[in-house]
C-alpha cells in the first residue's frame, strides 16, 4: 500500500501504527533473506513501542539508506572502514521527518560502499537482489532502498543521488525515484561522496508519495551552506492531472547506440502517451552529452578522494594495528576500503595531483559549464525533458563487476542532471519481454520540482505500470 493510502487509514483509525510496523517486520522476515535490502539484520532487536505521533506523517516509518546519519542507529555506508559507527548526531532530513511525525525505520538500507556503484554489488554486506528477478542487480547505489520499496519491505525510503543513484535503481526496480535540485534538500548528515553533486531524495511507490516525502525533507538549513534559502512550494498542488500544452523536449543524443532496443520501444510508447495527454513533444539537442560520463568520473572521484581522507582510523570506525602513524593510515585504508572505493580514491587523487590538475580537474569543470549551458538553452524553450533513465533494464549480478568502465557507462543518462544541478524523476513506464521494469526520466529546470510532479503524476494516473507488482 502507498504511504498516502496508509495515511488516510491511520488518521481515521482503521489501521494502527503498530500494525504497519508489524506488517513490515513480517514481510522482511519472509523475503529479505532473498533480497538483502536491509543490512545488519542479525544484530537487530526490534523496538516494540512505536512512539505514537500525530503530525502530518502519523508515525509512518521511513526506510533510510546507510549513508544518512541516524542518531543512535549505526550508519556505516556499507563499508568495513565505518564498522560500528553510531553517529552522535542526526542528519537534517531525519530531524525534519521526525518533526513531521514520521518514524525512522530501525533497519538501514543496503547500498554500494560509500555510494560508489550502479548495482549495489560493492556493499560489504553482500549485494541486494532485484525483486523482479533475483539473478539481476537492483541498480545502485541506493539499491537497498529501491528493492525494499518494490518488495513491500518498506512503505517508502530515502536514497542519495550523485550520478543517478536514486533514479537508476528506481528504474530497475519499477518504483518512483526523485533527485531534487542541488541545494533543495540539506546534505547535513549525509556522509559525503561528491559534495557538489550529492542530493538526498525519495524512493516511493507512486508520485503522490514522492511529492509528500520531498515536501517533508526540503528547505534551507543553516548547517548546509550549499542549501538554498527559497520557499518550498506545496507540491501536492502540482498533482493536477493535466499536461495539455506543455512543451516536452526529447534529447536526440539519448537515443543512440548502446541503448537496448526493448527499452527504446518502451520509451517511445511512453513519449507517445505524453503526446496523447496533450503535451507538445519535439526533439531537442544536448550536444555535450557524450562528455558527461568522463567529466563526472573526474569531478566525482576528485571530490571523493578529498571527502574520504577523513577515514584514517583515528576518529571512528576500523583501525589496523601498527606502531607507525603513516603505516597505520595506509593499512587501515587498504583493509577498510573495498576495491571500487580504492579505485575511485586513487583516480581522484591522480586528477588533482601536481602536473595533472589542469589537464583533468580544471578541464572537467569547464566542460561542466558547457553541460549546464546545454540545459539552460533547452529550458528557455521547453517546460521539461523526457528521456530514458537507463540504457538497459536491470543487468545480471556479476555481469559488470570486473569491468568498471562498463559499469560507469550505465549512468550515461542520469549523470548530466547532477552535473547541471537540476531535478529529475524516474517513473515506471513499462516492461521488457522478460518482465523487467523500465523507467521514464523527466528533467526540469532548477527548483522546478513542481513540473516533475505534474508531468509524472499525469502520466502515472493515465497508465497502470505503477500498480504491477513483482511475483515475489
Amino acid at each position: 500500500m502507498t504511504a498516502h493510502e496508509l495515511l488516510v487509514r491511520l488518521k481515521s483509525g482503521s489501521v494502527a501504527s503498530e500494525a504497519v510496523q508489524e506488517a513490515l517486520y513480517a514481510r522482511i522476515e519472509k523475503v529479505d533473506s532473498k533480497i538483502n535490502a536491509y543490512v545488519r539484520r542479525a544484530d537487530f532487536r526490534k523496538n516494540d513501542a512505536v512512539n505514537k505521533k500525530q503530525g502530518l506523517l502519523f508515525s509512518l516509518p521511513v526506510t533510510v539508506k546507510d549513508n544518512i546519519c541516524t542518531e543512535g542507529l549505526n550508519t556505516e555506508c556499507c563499508s568495513k572502514i565505518l564498522a560500528g559507527f553510531c553517529p552522535p548526531y542526526e542528519a537534517t532530513v531525519i530531524s525534519k521527518l521526525k518533526k513531521a511525525g514520521a518514524e525512522i525505520f530501525p533497519l538501514k538500507a543496503n547500498m554500494d560502499e560509500f555510494a560508489f556503484g550502479s548495482s549495489t554489488e560493492n556493499s560489504c554486506f553482500g549485494p541486494t537482489h532485484n525483486p523482479w528477478n533475483l539473478g539481476c542487480v537492483p541498480g545502485g547505489s541506493s539499491g537497498g532502498s529501491a528493492a525494499a520499496v518494490a518488495a513491500d519491505e518498506a512503505i517508502w525510503a530515502l536514497g542519495s543521488d550523485t550520478g543517478g543513484s536514486i533514479r537508476q535503481p528506481a528504474s530497475f526496480c519499477g518504483v518512483v525515484g526523485l533527485k531534487p535540485t542541488y541545494g533543495r534538500v540539506s546534505r547535513f548528515g549525509l556522509i559525503a561522496f561528491a559534495s557538489s553533486l550529492d542530493q538526498i531524495g525519495p524512493i516511493t511507490k507512486d508520485v503522490e508519495d514522492a511529492a509528500i516525502l520531498t515536501q517533508a525533507i526540503s528547505g534551507y538549513d543553516p548547517n548546509d551552506s550549499t542549501s538554498v534559502d527559497q520557499d518550498v512550494p506545496d507540491y501536492l498542488k502540482s498533482l493536477t492531472k493535466d499536461i495539455k500544452g506543455l512543451r516536452v523536449g526529447i534529447p536526440k543524443e539519448y537515443f543512440v547506440e548502446g541503448m537496448d532496443s526493448e527499452v527504446k520501444s518502451v520509451i517511445e510508447q511512453a513519449v507517445n502517451k505524453l503526446k496523447t495527454l496533450g503535451a507538445s513533444v519535439k526533439e531537442v539537442s544536448l550536444p555535450h552529452t557524450e562528455y558527461a560520463v568522463p567529466v563526472y568520473y573526474i569531478i566525482a572521484t576528485a571530490e571523493a578522494s578529498s571527502n574520504l581522507a577523513r577515514f584514517d582510523g583515528v576518529q571512528y570506525g576500523y583501525r589496523a594495528k601498527s606502531d607507525n602513524l603513516i603505516e597505520m593510515y595506509k593499512r587501515t585504508r587498504a583493509e577498510g576500503f573495498g576495491d571500487e572505493a580504492k579505485r575511485r580514491i586513487i583516480l581522484g587523487t591522480f586528477a588533482l595531483s601536481h602536473g595533472y590538475y589542469d589537464a583533468y580537474y580544471l578541464r572537467a569543470l569547464k566542460v561542466r559549464t558547457l553541460i549546464k549551458q546545454d540545459f539552460d538553452r533547452v529550458f528557455a524553450e521547453f517546460d521539461c525533458i523526457a528521456a530514458p533513465t537507463s540504457p538497459t533494464p536491470a543487468f545480471k549480478l556479476g555481469e559488470r563487476a570486473s569491468e568498471p568502465l562498463k559499469m560507469y557507462l550505465s549512468d550515461i543518462y542520469t549523470i548530466s542532471v547532477n552535473l547541471a544541478g537540476i531535478p529529475a524523476i524516474s517513473i515506471p513506464c513499462g516492461f521488457t519481454k522478460d518482465k523487467l521494469p523500465v523507467g521514464l526520466q523527466i528533467m526540469a529546470g532548477s527548483f522546478n520540482e513542481e513540473m516533475l510532479f505534474r508531468v509524472a503524476h499525469t502520466f502515472e494516473q493515465n497508465t497502470e505500470w505503477h500498480k504491477i507488482k513483482s511475483s515475489l
Binding site: 560500528g84 552522535p88 542541488y182 541545494g183 557538489s196 551552506s225 550549499t226 538554498v228 557524450e290 562528455y291 560520463v293 568522463p294 567529466v295 568520473y297 573526474i298 578522494s305 581522507a309 583515528v314 576518529q315 571512528y316 570506525g317 576500523y318 583501525r319 601498527s322 606502531d323 607507525n324 602513524l325 603505516e327 597505520m328 593510515y329 595506509k330 593499512r331 585504508r333 587498504a334 576500503f337 576495491d339 580504492k342 579505485r343 580514491i345 586513487i346 583516480l347 587523487t349 591522480f350 595531483s353 595533472y356 583533468y360 580544471l362 578541464r363 569543470l365 569547464k366 566542460v367 561542466r368 559549464t369 558547457l370 568498471p404 568502465l405 552535473l419 547541471a420 544541478g421 532548477s446
Partner: protein
C-alpha cells in the same frame, strides 16, 4: 594519457593506501582503460569557458558569529578506536 606503475604507486602513497602487487597490476589495466575514455574531453576547445566551480549562484556563505553548543568531548570520542582522556590516541609520531 598513459599512466605507469610508478605514478600509481606515488598517487596511492599520497592517498595513504597500501597496494598489494596484484592490486597494482589490476589497477594499472583498469586506470589505463578509464583514462583512455576520459581523455575524450581533451579534444574540446574550451579556452574561453569559465570553470563551474559552483553550480548555484551563491558565494561566500558565512554563518552568524554567535557562540553555540556543539558535541561534548565524550560524545565526540564515542566512536574513537583508541582514546586517552579527552583525546584521540594515535601511534607515536615523534621518536
Amino acid at each position: 594519457m598513459a599512466i605507469d606503475n610508478e605514478t600509481i604507486r606515488h598517487v596511492a602513497h599520497l592517498a595513504r593506501i597500501d597496494l598489494q602487487a596484484k592490486e597494482l597490476e589490476r589497477l594499472h589495466v583498469q586506470l589505463h582503460e578509464i583514462l583512455g575514455f576520459i581523455d575524450k574531453i581533451s579534444n574540446l576547445n574550451i579556452e574561453d569557458v569559465l570553470p563551474a566551480s559552483h553550480i548555484l549562484p551563491i558565494s561566500n556563505v558565512l554563518r552568524e558569529d554567535i557562540p553555540h553548543t556543539s558535541l561534548t568531548p565524550e560524545r565526540a570520542l564515542e566512536n574513537a578506536p583508541s582514546k586517552k582522556g579527552n583525546f584521540f590516541s594515535v601511534p607515536k609520531i615523534i621518536e
